[in-house]
Amino acid sequence: MVEKQLTRERTSSWSWILQAFTGALLLVLLGLHMVVQHFVVEGGLRDYQQVVEYLSNPFVFLLEVMFLIIVTWHALLGVRAILFDLGLQPATERKVTAILSIVGVITIAYGIWLSATIVAQGA
Amino acid sequence: MSQKYHVIVIGAGSTGTATAHDLALRGLQLTVIERGEIASGTTGRNHCLLHSGGRYAVTDHEGAVECIDENLTLRQIMRDGLELNDGLFVAVDESDLAFKDTFLEGCASCGIPARDIPVKRALEIEPYLNPKILGAVQVPDGVFDPYRFCLSFLATAKKNGATVLPYHEVVGLLMSGQAVSGVKVLDHRTGKQYEIGADLVVNATGPWAGKIAAFANVDVPVLPTAGVMVSISKRLNQMVVNRLNKPHDGDIVVPQRMTSIIGTTSWKVDDMDAIHIPQEHVDKMIEFGEKMIPALRDNPIRGVMAVARPLIGKKSADEREVSRTFAGFDHAHDGVENFVTISGGKTTTARGMAEKISDIVCAKLGVSAPCRTREVVLESYRSYYNN
C-alpha cells in the first residue's frame, strides 16, 4: 500500500469555515482598530496618557478584547492549517490542536490582563 | 533462477492479460512480463471499437460470429469499462446502399442484431452525420478503453494470485534440451538481467510474436501491419459510425469521451517499433471520414497514432485480405516443447482467444480445470493498483 494514510478515519471539520468567518470579522475589527488606534491619532501612535484614556471607554475596551480574541483565533487556526498541510499523524494533529488552544487561551488571557492593568493604572 | 511459475505470459496487451486472467482462474501460478507500461503496444493504440461483428458480417463470417459472441460476453463481465451506445452503418453513395441488403443478410446469418432505420431518424440521433446519407443500419457496437480493459483483466488475475512485471523485457528463452524452461529478462528498472523459470511460456506479444519465437528458433507467421488513426478535438458522434460497405480505409469513426477517432489505413512494416506516420494517410482519414461526418474536417486534429498490428496467415501482398482471426500455435509441432504463441485477433475477442490458448496450455500441463471467464465478473480496473 503506497499511501496507508489515505484510509485514515475522516472526521467532520469546521476549521475552514471558522477561518473564513473570523477572517471576515477581522476585516471589520482590524479596520476599526487601525482607524482608532493609528489613523485618527496625530503621529499615528497614542502616547501613554491617550492610550489609558481611550481604553477606559468600556465600549472601546470591549471592541479591543473582541479584536484580540478573533485575531488570535484566526492566527492560530492559520498556524494549525499550515502544520496540518504537513500530513501529520492523527495523534500529532490532536497534540497540535491542544497546544495551539492553550497558546490561544494564554494569549487572550494575557491581552485581557494587560488591557485591564492599563485601565487600572489610569483609574 | 529467482522463482518458478507454472506459466509465464509474455506481453500485457489484451491477449496476454486476458490469458493471465483465464489461467489464474484455473488455479495456475503465473506471472505476466511486459517490457513497458501495461497496454503500451498494439492494444493501447487501439481504435477502441467493441465490435458487434457488423464490420465483418459479409467478408468474414467466422470473425463476425466471434465478435458478437465476445461483445455480448464482455457486456456481462466488464462492468466499468465500456461505452455502450451501439453503432450505425451509413450508406453514403449508391454502391453503399446497394450493399445494404447483403449487409443485413450477413448480420442475420452471424447472429448480429441489426436494424434498418430511416435516414431521418439517423440524422435526429446523430446531427453531425452527412445529411445526404442514403441509408442507416443500427448494430450493437460499443467502445472500450484499452488501458482499463487490460487493467481489469490484470486486476482480476492479481486477485487470483498472479503477479505482473512491467518494465521487464524478455531477452531470451531458457531451453533445456528441446523444451522451453523459462525466460531471461532485462529488468529495465535496474538494468540487470535475470532468469525466471516456468513449466510453460505463453508468447502473447502480438506483432512482436515472431521476435520472441525466434529465441527458440521457431517461425511464427505474423505479419506486422500498421494503421493510422486520427483523433479529432471534438466528439461529433454518440454512436460508432461505420461506412456501410466492405471494410475499407477510413470507413469508421469511433467516439470516445470527448473525441471522435477516424480509422484506419493499413500498410506493412518491417520494424514494429519504428513506425513513421505518412502524412498522406492522415489526409486520407479526413477525406474519407468527412464523407460520413463532414464536421470532422472543421475541427482540429488532436493526435495521430499508429502502431503495428499482428495479422495472421499467408504473407500475401494485400494486407487487408489476411484474416484478422487469431491463431494459437503449440510449438511442439515445431519441435519445441512448453512454448505456445497466441497472436492476431482483436481486442474485442481477447477473452475468447485467451480461452482457446488456455485450453491448450492446460491440456499440456495436465490441468483439468474448465474455463470460467465467461461468467466471472471482472474486478474494477482501479484495483490493479491496490498493491
Binding site: 477581522l26 496625530e42 503621529g43 502616547d47 | 528498472r189 535496474t190
Partner: protein, 131 residues
C-alpha cells in the same frame, strides 16, 4: 526481484517552489508568507504592548522608537501584508462559498491592484505625517 520505487520526498519548501507555476500559485505563496509574517507580528505586537503595563516612560520611549524611518518602513510592509492577505482572503472566502468562481483570477488581479494602490497611499500618509 524486489526493487523499491523512489519514495515521494515530502518537502515543505515545495510550497514555495515557483518553477513552472502560474498566478494562482503565486497568490497562494503570498497568502502563506503574509500569514506567517502577520502571526509573528501579532505576537511581537502583544509583547511590545506589555510596555504599557511597565509605565508611561517605557511606553513613550517605544513610541519615539516607532517613529524612526526604519520602523515606519516596516509599518508599510505590514500594511501591504495585511492588504494582500485580507483582500485575497475575501477572494478565497467568496470562491469557497461558490461565489464568483469563474472570475477568481480577475478577483486576484483586483486584489493585487488594490493592495498596491492602498499600500502606496498608506506609505504616503505615513511618511507625510512625519515631516
Amino acid at each position: 526481484m524486489e526493487v523499491k520505487p523512489k519514495p515521494v520526498q515530502r518537502k515543505p519548501l515545495e510550497w514555495f517552489n515557483l518553477k513552472g507555476k502560474r498566478v494562482g500559485f503565486w497568490a497562494y505563496v503570498v497568502m502563506r508568507l503574509s500569514a506567517v509574517g502577520l502571526v509573528l507580528y501579532l505576537f511581537l505586537h502583544l509583547v511590545i504592548l506589555s510596555q504599557l503595563a511597565v509605565g508611561p516612560a517605557a511606553w513613550d520611549n517605544f513610541v519615539a522608537l516607532a517613529k524612526s524611518p526604519a520602523v515606519l518602513l516596516l509599518d508599510v510592509v505590514l500594511i501591504i501584508g495585511i492588504l494582500a492577505h485580507g483582500l485575497n482572503g475575501i477572494r478565497l472566502t467568496l470562491i469557497g462559498f461558490g461565489l464568483g468562481v469563474p472570475r477568481q483570477k480577475l478577483m486576484l488581479w483586483i486584489g493585487l491592484i488594490l493592495t498596491l494602490v492602498f499600500g502606496v497611499l498608506s506609505a504616503l500618509a505615513i511618511f507625510a505625517e512625519t515631516k
